[in-house]
Symmetry: C2
Subunit: 336 residues, 2 copies
DNA sequence: GCTGGCACTCGTCGTGCGGGAGTGCCAAGC
DNA sequence: GCTTGGCACTCCCGCACGACGAGTGCCAGC
């Protein structure tokens, strides 16, 4: 019985602290929430919650503040993801509609997400690995110099310069183009890579060179590791502990490699992952929380998107926003 | 005679203030610089400089701080751009070498520039308008659906989906491709646009449709308005006046349209433009300085790059870094 | 026109002192 | 056995006060 009330107290503290950003005391708590008990009772519960590690006091005779463990419990057991309102849904779809290419979809998603959550948004570009090759194009820039263009089903275009060393005739080039497309077009990246490797082995010289470059382009780590970041201005709302906290965060946000690690494995579409404080793998983000989810066409989690914010955040609202944006972006990718 | 010394005093104050970030007093000034006069003399000069508007005091009985006007004079008359050392030059070229495409050139430039200057770097992508069409490629995704790919001399690739409405035969497609390339390849954007418009007019139907899309892609404003930003973490060094100053700056840095306005017209390559404080067109940046220069292949100022920082910055060093990076990037674009 | 001296200003920093919010604990009540 | 009102205690915060010192402006002398 009182166990239940304790959880209610924890929830109330989290909610109050998130909205006021100040340690919450027993008296204010009973007033603001309709707890039908006295402050003294709440104090007992608070003391118990503190013993169990869910709360902490900045100093004696201050209110209580949730610990990471407290937030964790809140997220796991006390949260129901609140659905978006109709207006919000309309805003999301109108914001994302009309994006002409992948770049723009990602750019808009980042902006949308950061505005909805008032947090720093991070959107990973869909990884190549599960997308298929749509077309390979070769353009002769000079007799011995090609531009190889790789067009993928995800809408991504990769281009590479190829120095052949020796000139290549136009009809040889045309034949090579056909051959490459026969091997690669329609294949998943992984299969296309092996097909091109076989081709390169069977036929040395220019063909092998071009095939090699294409393989490089496909497996290029850079391609997998693109992310867009937006809403960094929201970091300025950190209020307390500023230069000490924000500087390294801003730096980390420019290190896309770090960010990718932070986003981690794409969690299955529909599942929102919340990493609170030091639960994450990256030190710089040990005093922030990260809310992510996977997205991709056909709800295939090709990539991850999410937000980074202070552990003191509105989890239900944020999780809802992240989930909603992922859902809409996935739908748009379906159509493309 | 004493006019000369006054300028020396102004220069010394600027230099000291830039390095210490604290108002500089007369005594410290004569000690740190080899001025062969007494503090009292310097005080007289300071008072005169203040009357003329080059200096100001945060409060009575504090040292002097340069005004925007003071910085202006410093930059215009007291600065010799210090050349980069050999080591710095090597660092720059090794940093920029090995960039495989335009995207990477820009990304690396931004990072380099922000690290060299310890400031926020902004690099505008080369505008399309002066570059030429290298190749037009059409890829059939479905019988009535094409992907049009536009490859430009600047290394940029634009792609657009074209819904034909009616299916197109393979050999018609091949003919169209040849025709488009005949009209456009090698031409400057502006000429290519008119050529394609003519073609569209002469021949309605699918050809016109595709030509129209290509024209759109060429004149698309979005293409002209891409910028990359880096080193925002350096804003955290603003020390004083933080949340008040940095928040709007961070926001403005994410508004690429605003940034483009800030960068302004590309100044001729080789000329470094310095805008101090409120001299610039944008309110949010009225307490910062902007150092820019044009760059592009063959020293054709296709685009602008530069940095944004506090008015209190090392102008000679920053100007040198901006100029050097622009020069190297231009050279790399030459080769491509 | 430069210089040393001197009085004056004013921001900064350390100290000390309520005020107040909040707690912990205890004894009484349901 | 919870819950509750009461009460003493802790400790942060804000404010006033005063000493200190950096820096100035001005003046008289060279």
């Amino acid at each position: 019985m009182q166990e239940e009330r304790r959880l209610a107290v924890l929830r109330a503290i989290v909610e109050d602290y998130v909205s006021t950003e100040e340690p919450v005391g027993s008296k204010a708590l009973v007033e603001r929430h309709g707890l039908n008990v006295s402050p003294a009772t709440v104090r007992n519960d608070m003391a118990a919650l503190e013993d169990e590690g869910y709360l902490t006091q900045p100093h004696t005779s201050a209110g209580r503040v949730p610990t990471d463990k407290g937030y964790r419990l809140f997220v796991d057991r006390l949260t129901t993801v609140k659905p978006m309102t109709g207006a919000e849904k309309r805003a999301i779809s109108s914001f994302l509609d009309g994006a002409v290419d992948l770049d723009e979809i990602v750019t808009r998603s980042v902006r949308l997400l950061s505005q909805l959550t008032r947090q720093v948004a991070v959107v990973q570009y869909p990884t190549l690995s599960r997308s298929t090759v749509r077309h390979v194009e070769l353009v002769a820039l000079a007799p011995d110099r090609l531009l190889a263009v790789l067009i993928l089903s995800s809408g991504r275009v990769e281009q590479r310069l190829v120095e052949l060393g020796v000139p290549i005739a136009d009809d040889d080039l045309a034949r090579l183009r056909t051959r490459l497309n026969l091997s690669a077009t329609g294949e998943v990246i992984a299969d296309a890579v092996t097909a091109l490797r076989d081709l390169a082995e069977a036929e040395p010289g220019p063909s092998a060179l071009v095939a090699g470059v294409l393989v490089d382009a496909m497996s290029d780590h850079r391609s997998d590791s693109r992310v867009a970041v937006g809403g960094a201005a929201n970091l300025a709302r950190y209020g307390d502990s500023f230069d000490s906290a924000v500087r390294p965060l801003l730096e980390a946000l420019e290190e896309h490699v770090v960010l990718l690690k932070l986003m981690g494995e794409a969690s299955a579409a529909g599942t929102v992952t919340v990493r609170i404080g030091a639960e994450g793998p990256i030190e710089q983000f040990s005093s922030t929380s990260v809310v992510t989810t996977g997205y991709g066409p056909h709800d295939d989690a090709l990539a991850t998107l999410g937000i980074v914010g202070p552990t003191r955040m509105d989890y239900p609202g944020t999780m809802a926003a992240v989930r909603a944006v992922a859902r809409y972006v996935s739908r748009i990718l379906d159509e493309a």
